[in-house]
Amino acid sequence: CATLPFVINTWGGPFTVTTDAAFVALKSSATALDAAEAGASACEVSQCDGTVGYGGSPDERCETTLDALIMDGTTMNAGAVAGLRRVKNAIGVARRVLEDTQHTLLVGDHATAFALEKGFLEVDLATDESRSICYAWKENNCQPNFRVGFGSESCPSIESYTPDFPPIKHNTPIITHSFPQSHD
């Protein structure tokens, strides 16, 4: 049993940035909701182990997209985004869905449009690292993949995603990860 305030989150190691960010927020009298957002956001910024935030888990076309959810235990209100494209702060957009709409989930390009409407920046979520992971995957005949009955002859036909706006050069240091087996 723990005394309050209290934070718990999945994973250790690099994920303790979430524990600390949420805890510090709670200690400065933030609401539980603000603290949950702060914790998830810290992981998005630092990328944690590469499974959170920009520059991780490229899809078949080498694009990174983001999913996020935030829920208020007092009101049972919730906001979420799925397949969010070209916007980094997914949990921030999910919070806006919770606060500014009566909906619960926005997806894909429409979630991106909503984010831009709310002032979030549009950027390319791919990085040199995620692109090289994706190209290496293609070199390896697109293995492993999530297709059923997928013959390697189909592999070259998967063309790469190219952002429809000039990629912004990231000045943040490239964090090299060894990505765990592919999961959420």
């Binding site: 309050l4 999945t10 994973w11 250790g12 979430t18 805890f23 709670l26 909701l33 078949e60 999913d67």
Partner: protein
């Protein structure tokens, strides 16, 4: 995937999940992260839960909703988490899943399947997070 549950000094609860999903996914694929009741779930009258793992399968079971409802019916956080994971294991024996569960009083527990799972927690006057290792069921 990061899933976090918070309890404020006044006992308010919230949950959040963020992820970039599975690598090499078919474009357009969404996992369980943003799905209420799967990526995370919280009911301030009972407790909260956060999850990570094989999202394509987990979203079919809503393990975090199950875990919170288990606590509503009297299970401890650890038992509630284990039950939710066992339900998935019964149908998908190889599923990789990790759940952290906490009740509204700050009692917490976790359960995992097919990998060694870890979670972090911090409370009260702790100056650093504690990382706990959970062996798979």
């Amino acid at each position: 995937t990061v899933s976090v549950i918070t309890i404020s000094e006044r006992g308010q609860m919230a949950a959040a999940t963020s992820t970039n999903g599975a690598a090499h996914k078919v474009p357009g694929r969404v996992g369980d992260g943003p799905i209420v009741g799967s990526g995370s779930y919280v009911d301030g009258e009972v407790g909260g839960c956060g999850a990570t793992g094989d999202g394509d399968l987990m979203m079919r079971f809503l393990p975090c909703y199950q875990a919170v409802e288990n606590m509503r019916r009297g299970m401890s956080p650890s038992i509630a988490a284990e039950d939710a994971v066992r339900r998935m294991l019964r149908r998908f024996p190889l599923i990789q899943a990790g759940l952290v569960v906490v009740d509204k009083n700050g009692n917490f527990g976790a359960a995992a399947s097919n990998w060694v799972f870890t979670y972090s927690w911090r409370s009260g006057s702790m100056s650093n997070p504690e990382v706990v290792t959970v062996q798979p069921i």
